[in-house]
Amino acid sequence: MSHETAATRNSVFTPFNVVAGIIVILGLFITAVRFTKGLGATTNLSDNNPWGIWIGFDLLVGVALAAGGYVTSAAVYIFGMKRFHAAVRPAILTGFLGYALVVLALNYDVGRPWRLPYPFLISRGTTSLLFEVGACVALYLSVLFIEFTPAPLEWLGFKKARAIVVKLTMVLTIFGVILSTLHQSSLGALFLIAPSKLHPLWYSPYIPIYFFITSIIAGLSMVIFEGSLSYRYLKHKMDHHHIETKDDLALGFGKAAAWVLTGYFMIKVIGIAADNNWHYLASGYGAWFLVELFGFVALPAFCYMLGVRENNIRLIRWTAAWTVLGIIVNRFNISMVAFNYHLPSSERYFPHWMEIGISVFIVTAGLLAFRFICTRMPILYEHPDYEPH
């Protein structure tokens, strides 16, 4: 009897669970402050800096890192790379949770979150790129939800409903790629309206294309990165097939990421040339821009190539993590570091600890939801009663 209690206690109070529990409690506390005292009490936002990390990280980074869903399902179902099939479900799940959390985070950031349906129901501001982002994110969240449902339906044993959803796979995949192309690029296009505020090295008429291409890089890298984390912590939930194909997946996606990163490097240089911004490279912002371009674009492209050439899965995994960090750096640069570059440092933005607290809380909520679902539903293994689709 006493042994049993000890065992249960051990399984619940793991270091991960304790840390996650503290973060969740802190998150709930900040949530209460945010919704009773307002944005002023919880953020360092100001009239000059209306967007902080709740947009720069939770929205911009969140959406980019959730791109694995459309990238993987397009690779498998449209481009016919069926050997990566085992990666589809975890990628769709990550995408679905990612977008759900982005929408959750928006509720913290906007002044009157209960009005979030207004752009669609009350007053449609179709000249705004934010309208397009909102419409596409709302639609894509629904698409991801439907794409995700086969797993819970198998878990619950609803065979007929599952059969209907599986038949929609192709249509949903194509719809998902269209919506992702549109809103991933539109998140970058949001900044097109402010050429006087974003540093010329980061402002470019190509910024929507940059955002779309980096979302592909983010998607590919996240699938590799998240795959290695799952293998480490959820290996017992993986079936033979999943474990067998994971190295092949890292090689294939690593090769694709190397190619796309190389193309992205090229179009970034073309962007500088097109606006003749070379002289800015000699400034402090220029140095930081070069760190981003060489440290987080050229370097991972090279490391991916090397990893694929030498069959070095370890290197590919580390490169994937580094590339994900690079995406964060890029989005932070555009939304915060290089934004308002013309203002004196006293008028610049640095996040309040409560803002960071909410962002960490939301990432933790995502991890907990991912683990909850993976330990229960057929995500990392195939359900024996069903044919793979």
Binding site: F35, T36, K37, G38, L39, G40, A41, T43, L45, S46, D47, N48, P50, W51, A74, Y77, I78, F79, G80, D109, V110, G111, R112, P113, R115, L116, Y118, P119, I122, S123, R124, G125, T127, S128, L129, L130, F131, E132, G134, M170, I174, V177, I178, T181, L182, S185, S186, A189, L190, F191, L192, I193, A194, P195, S196, K197, P205, P208, H342
Partner: protein, 368 residues
């Protein structure tokens, strides 16, 4: 009915031309909105401003904004550079400049410039901003979600937000006293200005007035009307004796109206929505066909291999059968031969026995 390819293409071309001619496309045209005719505006002559903050006080009063901690009569406030915020729709800033070598103070009033094509209105995803025919740009708090994209978009850094309101935060900005204009009154700040540094009138006429002043006093003014073309033009116009950048106003904004900056990206949306299904379904179909062909080729190869193997096996069996048949005949022949031999031998022996039985002479004869 059958149509030739040429005819079909001709029809398609005609349909395309008709479609292009029949509509007035906005996104790709050269059309520019030059403002509502007879819209009103204010000309701010920076050279006439003395920094008395009377306009700030009047603005605060007519807009029923909370009274500030420091009175509007306190001019030391000017020592710090300020911007519009949730409590003030307008602020006056002072700048030290040296015109013709002599250091002097200039005072500049800052408020919403009421763009002809406002960035805030273009950026708002609930159409909370309206460009009114009287020239003012007004805000509707009843639909505002509070995303603050208008504040990102505004090149003049004007809209402010009530961050400390937990439940009903609003974007705050100058309305050019739109409600007062409708009552036939002047904007509060214009009415309060003791030096006529602010002049209210039709924008078109104000531009004439400004040009006249520059022509009459070329030493007093620099030859530029700020707001005539900046960001596509604004209803608030400025005259200055020193460069505008030395009075905290940006001269690098360009003349492109904000809406034009995003129209390309917005215009590509229907193109992506229209072409992506074709492209993606095409890629899918190509892959399906490749798979089909590969499967067929594989099946063919297997069939070929099988039939070849079958033929070989048939030949082998045939050979074996033939061999077996040959062996069999040989065995039969051998057996027959053996039987015949045995038979002959038996017969011989029988004959021999018969001869032995018939007489010894006979046998002797045989031996010789």
């Amino acid at each position: 009915m059958s149509i030739s390819r040429r005819k079909f293409l001709g029809w398609m071309g005609a349909a395309g031309m008709a479609g292009a001619a029949g509509t007035s496309a906005q996104a790709g045209s050269n059309k520019q909105f030059k403002g509502y005719p007879d819209s009103m505006g204010v000309l701010h002559d920076i050279t006439r401003c003395v920094g008395c903050r009377k306009c700030e006080a009047a603005c605060n009063k007519v807009n029923k904004l909370p009274s500030p901690d420091v009175s509007f009569d306190e001019l030391t406030v000017l020592e710090q550079k300020r911007r519009t915020d949730a409590q003030s729709h307008t602020v006056v800033n002072q700048f030290q400049t040296d015109k013709d070598g002599a250091p002097s103070m200039v005072y500049v009033k800052k408020q919403c410039n009421h763009c002809l094509e406002p960035a805030c209105a273009s950026a708002c995803f609930v159409k909370a901003f309206t460009k009114n025919p009287d020239g003012s740009v007004t805000y509707n708090a009843h639909v505002c979600v509070g995303c603050r994209y208008c504040m990102i978009a505004c090149p003049f850094e004007i809209p402010a937000y009530e961050y400390n309101e937990a439940f009903t935060p609003r974007v705050m900005k100058c309305t050019m006293c739109h409600p007062r204009l409708q009552e036939g009154k002047l904007p509060g700040c214009v009415q309060a200005c003791p030096t006529e540094a602010l002049v209210f009138g039709k924008r078109k006429e104000l531009i004439h007035v400004a040009r006249e002043r520059i022509r009459n006093f070329p030493d007093r003014y620099i030859d530029h009307i700020y707001g005539e073309h900046e960001m596509g033009g604004t209803n608030w116009l400025y005259l200055s004796g020193v460069s505008f950048s030395s009075t905290g106003m940006r001269e690098d904004l360009g003349n492109t109206p904000a809406g034009k900056l995003t129209s390309g990206a917005l215009g590509s949306v229907p193109i992506v929505a229209g072409l992506w299904p074709v492209l993606l379904t095409g890629i899918y179909a190509i892959n399906r066909r490749k798979e089909k062909i590969a499967a067929k080729q594989q099946a063919d190869a297997v069939n070929q291999a099988v039939s070849k193997a079958n033929e070989e096996a048939d030949a082998k069996i045939k050979a074996a059968m033939e061999k077996a048949a040959a062996d069999k005949t040989a065995a039969i022949e051998r057996e027959v031969k053996k039987a015949l031999e045995q038979d002959a031998k038996a017969r011989q022996e029988a004959q021999k026995a018969a001869r032995e039985q018939s007489g010894d002479e006979g046998s002797d004869e045989d031996k010789t």
